[in-house]
Every structure is written in C-alpha cells, then in structure tokens.
Amino acid sequence: MSEDQDQPATKTNRSVLCIEDEHFIAELYTRALTKAGYQVATIIDGKEGLAAAQTNQYDIILLDLMVPNLTGIEILRALRDPARVPPVRSKIIITTNLEQRDDVRADIEKQADGYLVKAEITPKELVEFLDNIQ
C-alpha cells in the first residue's frame, strides 16, 4: 500500500479499538482509518473486546452490537457502569446494522457517544465522523 504517502498530514494519532465480528467490515474500516492516521486494533469476540476496552488505552471504541460471546449492549453497560473505577474515558461509538425500536435506540444512544448504522455510511464517512469526535 504505497498510497500512504499521498495522504495529507494526519491531524490525529488517536487509537481506535474496533469490536466487530464481520471480518470484511473490520478490514475496510481498519484500512480507511489507518490511512487517515488512526492506530486501529480489531477484536472479533465480545469478551475479549470488553477486556481490551477496559485497559483504557483507546481513544475511541467502535462497538458492534452483534458480536459473539458478549453482546455490544452488555459491553456498553459494563464500560459505562457508574461504579467502575477508574471510568473508561474512551469515546464509544455504536456501529450496527441492527434495526432497533426508537426507544431502545434512544436508550443505547444515551450511554454511548455516537450511533451509526453501518449500511448508511461508507468507510470514508466513518473517518469524517471520527475526525469530528473530540
């Protein structure tokens, strides 16, 4: 991938944890994010994903709601547990293709920092979205 050099100087060096069980989607996101200057780690399994997220070393967590062993909702709840010390400071962005009822979705959105329907965004649009997350 020699195109890396053509990319504009990246304004970010932020780290992203992508918890996503669809291999191809993870691959596309990793590719686009890496090109934009993000450090990306991908984890397929929910339990492992939670463990990694709890290390608190990621700026942003992309969280799919349908991952094996532990659902995204459970991971979100564990990470956003007010009793957690120290609190997870990572921004959590829900990425899903699951259709939720409005009220369920609103309940999830309250706890997360963003909610994206994967089919409605391209990898580039994901990068733009993350660029705008402070």
């Binding site: 195109e3 669809e22 989607i25 596309l28 293709n97 939720q100 309940d107 994967k118 409605e120 990898p123």
Partner: protein
Amino acid sequence: MDHLKQLRQKLRQVIFGLLLLENLLLLGGWYLGSLHRSHVTVIMLIGAGLLAMALTVLAMIVLSNLSLQPLEALWQAVLHISPTEQGVAAPDVNKLRIGKDLVTSLIFQIYQFADVANKAANEARVKNSDISQNFIAQNLPLPLFVMDASDTIIFANEMASQYIGIPVSDLVGKNVYMVLDMSFPSEDTLDNWLKGVKSKNATATGSWERVRLNVRDNHPARHFDLAAYYNRDNPDKNEVMLALFDHTKQYSQDDQAVSFIALSVHELRTPLTLLRGYIEVLEDEIDTTGNPELADFMEKMRSQAEQLMAFVNNILNVARVDDDQLQLSLESGDWPTVLKKAVADLSLRAKVRGITLHCRIAANLPAVGIDRLSIHEVINNLVDNAIKYSGGSRTIEIESKLNKEGLVETTVQDFGLGISSSIMPNLFTKFYRDHRNRAQIGGTGLGLYLSKAIVTAHGGSLWVRSKEGEGSVFGFTLLPYDQLTAELKKSGNQEITRSAHGWIKNHSMYRR
C-alpha cells in the same frame, strides 16, 4: 351493682315509709271513730280517708319524680354526647336526690363508650382517607397510581412499583409523566383526556387500549390497557386514579412481524455495507482516466448500491408505518439546503440513466418543519419514480415555491409514460404497481404509500396530476415551521413529535 342495690333499698324505704304513714292515718281515723260512734266518727273516717288519698297523690308525684330522676339524668347524658342533638347540657348529678352514685357511674360508662366509639370512627375515617392504609388499594392485584390535582403521584401500590421497576418511595411525590413514559395509539392520550375532564366534569372515567410504557434504563417496554378515574376536588386529594392492565405478552406479539423485518434488514445491510465500502475503495484507488467505460460502470455500481440502500430503508419504514411506530421529530429546516442536497444525492442515479435533474427553488421560502431523514426519503421516492417512468424523456423538473395557502409546495415532474386515470385511485396503495409496466420497471410499490404517510405526518399533503403519454407531476406541501409550532401550541403539545397514524407521546414535555 352496689349502686343499684342502694337505689332499690332507698326506694323501698321511701315507699315503705309512705305506706306506713297512710296506714297509720287510716288506723288512727278508724280508732278515733270507734271512740265516738256518732257523726264525728263518720267525719273522722272521711277526714282520715281524704288525708290518706292526698298523701297517696303526693306520694305518687314524689315517687315518680324521685324514681325517674336517675333515668332523666341518664337520658340527658346520652343526648349530651349524641352527635345529632346539639346544645343539650350535661346533667348535674349533684342535684340528684336519689341514685346519685349509680347515675354517676353509669354516666361515666356512657361517656367512656362514646369516647371509644368516637376514636374508632376517627381511626376508620383516617384509614379511609389515607389511601396508603387502605387494604384494597395496597393489595389490588393491578398496578395502581393515585395523583393529586397537580398530577403528582401521592400513592402507588406495590404492584405498580414492581410493574414499572421503580421503588414506591421514588414514585411518591414525582410528576406522573416523569415516571410513566407512555405512548398512546392515537391523539386520545391520558393527558388530553385529563385536560378535557378537568374543565368540564366533576367526576369521569376513561379507558385506553394498547398503551405502551417506553423502555427506560434497561427496564423492558410494557404494553397495557389503562383505566382512569377523575374526581375533582376530592377531599383526600385523590384526584386521579390510574389502573394498568398488563397485556405485554399479547400486544408485543404484534411486534414480531417487525422483528422479522428488522432481522431481514440486518441481513441485507451487512453485504450492502461491504459493497459500498469496496466501491468506495475502488473509486478512490483505480485510475479510470484512460477508461471512461470503467468510470461509467463504477458510477452505475455506486448508484445501484445506493438504490438498494434506499429500498432497504423503505421496507423498514413501511413496517414502521404499519406498526404505528414511524415517529418523526420535526425541527426547523432550511428547505433549499435540504432539497438541493437530496437532489444532488439523486443526480448520480439519474445520470446513469441519461437523465438530468433540473432544480428550481423560489427565493422567499420560510423555514419548514421537517424530519430530515424521512423527508429525504420522500424526495428520494418521488425522484426515483420519475426516473423509472421517464421513458425516453431526458429531463426531470424539481420545483419548490410558496403556494396560495402559504405552504411550501415541492413538485417533481417527469415527461415520460404518465399514469392512466383508471389506476390513479390505487396509486398510494401499498404494493400497488401499474400492471402494464410491472415487467419492465423495477420497484416494490411501497414508495408512494410510504411517502404519503410521511408527508401526512408532517402535516402536509401529497398529490398527483398526470396524463398518459405526457408524464406526471407529484407534489407535496410542507408547513412553515412557525405555523407548525403555532398549531402544536394550540393543541398543547410542547415538543414536536408526530407519527404517520401511530404512537403519540403522552406528554412530550416530560420526555426523558
């Protein structure tokens, strides 16, 4: 008992004394008479008899008065404490010449009984008015809420607490709409009903079916029928009573159909996400400058992927409309910006079919009340139809202006096949498609059905004018934002939420 004995003794003594005196008088008269057997005798006898008679009458009066005195005092005591007799003084036992002790003790007993009865009545009254002490309210096997005139919960039973997953102590004192986030299947909400009855009725009852308690903090959604009782100025402040009849199992089965669609949509979306992702990578990284055909294919691929996505969203939204779940949140929007963006998104789809989109927007348009995503779909569907039914024509005119009624009217006009008048009435029916074209032109017959539902929910209307062979014009109106807010203010709705024919938030002001 001793007092009674004493009284009996005393009465006996008095009667005995009087009888003795009378007999002595008669005996004395008879004796004196026997000494002088003459007229004197007769006079003596008559005198003694008269004296005895007078004495008897006197004794009668004295005795009756004397013996009735205690009874009278008792009677007075009873009247004195009776709640129905006002102003009867308490008896003065010191004036009693007979049975003073007995009467004093009896009156004391009466007063004690009265006191006990009074206390019991008071307790019962308190128990009755304090609903939290009420056995039926506490143990009613239904969630029960009682509110005062300001809609503040003053009582909730254990069932209510369990049902909505909030402890009783956290319910009492809260505004009911803050803890019960309810959605109703129509504009006939609890809130609207209460407003009505509060101005008209002293008492009223109301009931609703298929009310939904929205998800909160992971507490599952509930479905129930609701019954309400209203009593203005209830002395115990129990102004409104709500009873909930759970039907979660039964009513949520109706959601299964949506779940099936939601699942299918998920399965469709994954490959779609990938397709769009890879197309983007290819567009970015394959140099097509020397190969216009390749560039054309790439555009076609992207436009088809976008169309597929629009289709998936259509299915979802139709499912929502059918299930009364399509909910819009209307906000102020700059219509030219929204329309231009939508048209720009669609121009690729038109371009790959050799069609140009012309967009003319009047300069004086006020801000409109719109739900951006949904209205985008309306434009999408109308332009998509125009593209599909353009036949050989190469332009589509999109125009937006303020109409005579002061509404923002947007039209999409094609110059293609047109619509036969015979099928016009069915145009907005779900799955309806023009049979003549079914074979040649793709589509689901959902687009117009959905668009109409969305526009209606915006408070506007969707219409069509068409002539076979000359093309069609589809138009829809949107309300200026100011007009929309004024209308909603009139209906007392604080936040702007609308639905196609579906869930209306009970009291949006308290939406979490």
